[in-house]
Symmetry: C2
């Protein structure tokens, strides 16, 4: 059709030109429409990101503010004249040091300042040693120094403690040492340059810290505390959902898979990375709000690990509940599916959920664990024990239940193995893994032909 | 004793001096011993890190090599004279761009180069606009540009796709734009500067790429492939351990907790962060070894998610097995603890483990999933189904088992809730959370006293 239009316009000059212009116009309008659609979509997405967490907008504005503040150093002539091109280092520092949380900015800022200072001293020393060895040896010696120190510093980054807290400082150490060591200045000039550079970096770090701390501060410690509360809340929500949808008198088990509470544990399972980085940054922060200087941040990691274990049990439980709802069992086993079991299950989930809610309330107000929490935990444990004791006059049924659980979990694992096999199969297909059987058959055919 | 010695030395000059010297000497020797001990410990640790992964040593040497290569630019006078102080940018680029994997280096290098290029063009444009508005308006206008663009770019980093792939590029964009926009040069000079800076950065990136690709390359894609194989192997190891220690004829259940196979799933559970970063870097890599250009890297993430689900079921299973081993049940339920159940469990774990081993072999040789794997999966599924059918002539026992599992998982959750309560309690004690009850009592006392 496109080609037809073109030949037509070739045969019939004026009218064809009008037709072509009309088509061009249409195309342009279509393109504009598509672009407008994309732009509206993107704007909607950006709006959602901003609404979800308004502090993100504040952070963006803060970065702009800090950069504008630092760039004033360029415009104010007296400052610029005394520091010269080194002012650039203040801008550079602001861009790379400014992080979302106060702890992150402090960690990077202090790492940058101390890395620069230490590397500067060592580099000046190396320069003096090389300078004394004469004109010929100087570059060779400096190259050897750079090679040895940067290799050693890079290797130190593989030590887990250094990686966790001083990774950026080591990078800056390598950077500063190489820059100072290889620049072919005389030593006295070098010291003046190093001093100037260090002071500009200090100005950059100070600008960042003032902006992050005094303009809508985002504290990593507070974030970690809130994450712990949110995780506990999600666990409680799951247990409440299970209680109301599965174990209450008139529970129907209907349409279970669509219920949001059955998915709520997933974000808890994936919270480890966020938690670790927040905990790492929180350790750098000064006291703020209700958090004192030596707040036990590592304890949050232990709590998080327990929450994730709990969530992983919930994952198993939810898959069972869904299967149970899907399978139509004609008749219940009189002993195990009695009112007694249902009541015990209800008690267990209800009291556990209530205990967790009490814990979140205590965490939120930062008060000691209230007695109701312990009461609920005891009630839940009592229900679990009662179920075990009541069901098994002898211990035989208890053991039977235990074995049943193991057998069921194993058959669950079998299903998972099947899914894994399918997934590897998809991978093999997508990546075009070689098929050993067809190659063999081909060989067989070849031999047949030859023979 | 210290003070006694000092007064003694005060009273009796010479002998006391000798005594003091001897103590100093002792102290020095003690300090040297401690330092030697620490140094030996550190050396041992570094040696272990190097032995665990010799490529780490290679990476450290590569960084040193790339830096030394780039610093040659300083020593070779003709090069230095034509580029001037901009040579510094090559050194800076090498330090920050050099990553452990080829994909990481490529990602950072391309991000850096494109970020610099785009920002450079926009900054020159902004400079021209500001220049036309006159001497007074120029700095104000430039400051506004810096503020707006850096805020917008920082906000774009919160979009997940940008964060995952172009985070570093956006940082470099902000950096370059601010640097170029605020530097008070004339436009023609600016273009020469930008050109020079871009070419030094390109030289830095090229040096990094040559070193990472041609000297002992570490491919993120290969790492991801090996991680998937290792995860599958660990799952198989767990199932084999369960089979041999719990379901075999003469299985004793003895000393189970100390067995390493019961902990093997934990590293699978925590593999998400490594997997995500490797997958992200692998997408940047060119074809290498057996991996073609558009290898389906995302499929590894799906496989990894399944492996983690599997590992989380294993966590539940292992806690059950350990409890079962610890509890002394006097007698087994005749129906559930029979030889039949044990055999079925053995079949399920054995065949699943074998299927997983087949899968790892297929992944290692990059061949399609072999038929034995499917055969083993079918055998495992048959065993699971046989157990279910065989146990329940009617479906009542099957349902009973199902309910038993749910009740047991719930009572497991109760135990976890108890642990969480204890953990929060520890946190409250360590962080000195305020106790609402004592404050109330104090108030009560105060009122009593007042009244």
């Amino acid at each position: 059709m496109e080609i037809g239009g073109q030949t037509e316009s070739g045969a019939n000059g004026g009218g064809g030109g009008g037709f072509r212009a009309a088509r061009c116009w249409e195309l342009l309008r279509w393109a504009a429409g598509v672009l407008r659609g994309k732009a509206v979509g993107l704007a909607g997405r950006l709006g959602r990101i901003a609404r979800d967490e308004p502090r993100r907008v504040a952070h963006s504005v803060k970065v702009g503010l800090a950069l504008t503040l630092v760039s004033v150093l360029y415009y104010v002539r007296p400052l610029f004249n005394s520091w010269g091109a080194s002012t650039m280092w203040a801008v550079l520092t602001v861009v790379v040091v400014m992080e979302y949380t106060v702890g992150g900015t402090l960690c990077k800022g202090l790492n940058r300042a101390s890395g620069t200072l230490v590397a500067g001293f060592i580099a000046v020393g190396a320069h003096k040693v090389a300078y004394m060895c004469g004109d010929k040896a100087e570059p060779v010696l400096l190259a050897i120094f750079v090679f040895l120190l940067s290799s050693a510093a890079t290797f130190s980054r593989f030590i887990p403690e250094v990686k966790a807290r001083y990774d950026y400082g080591v990078t800056i150490f390598i950077l500063t040492f190489s820059l100072v060591a290889v620049s072919s200045y005389r030593v006295d000039e070098l010291i003046r340059l190093a001093h100037r550079r260090f002071s500009t970096i200090a100005v950059g770090v100070a600008t960042c810290l003032c902006t992050t701390i005094f303009v809508f501060p985002v504290w990593a410690g507070e974030g970690l505390h809130k994450l712990a509360i949110a995780n506990l809340n999600k666990l409680a929500e799951f247990l409440e959902g299970i209680e109301s949808e599965c174990f209450r008198e008139n529970a129907t088990f209907e349409n279970l898979e669509a219920k949001p509470f059955l998915q709520v544990y997933q974000s808890v399972l994936n919270s480890k990375a966020t938690e670790d980085s927040l905990c790492n940054f929180a350790k750098w922060e000064p006291c703020h709000g209700k958090f004192k200087l030596r707040h036990p941040w590592s304890q949050y990691q232990k709590l998080g690990a327990l929450c994730r274990e709990c969530a992983s049990s919930m994952e198993a439980l939810s898959s069972y509940v869904v299967t149970l709802a899907r399978t139509e069992y004609p008749e219940a086993h009189p002993e195990l599916c009695s009112q007694q079991v249902r009541t015990a299950c209800r008690q267990m989930s209800l009291h556990s959920a209530k205990a967790l809610r009490e814990l979140t309330a205590a965490m939120r107000t930062m008060t000691t664990v209230p007695s109701p929490a312990s009461v609920h935990v005891s009630a839940a444990i009592k229900a679990a024990k009662g179920l075990r004791d009541g069901l098994s006059e002898g211990a035989d049924l208890a053991r039977a239940m235990h074995v049943a659980v193991i057998a069921s979990l194993l058959s669950e694992l079998v299903t998972k193995t099947k899914q894994i096999t399918e997934s590897v199969d998809v991978l093999a297909r997508l990546a075009r893994f070689r098929n050993p059987e067809t190659t063999q058959t081909h060989k067989g055919v070849a031999i047949d032909v030859v023979s």
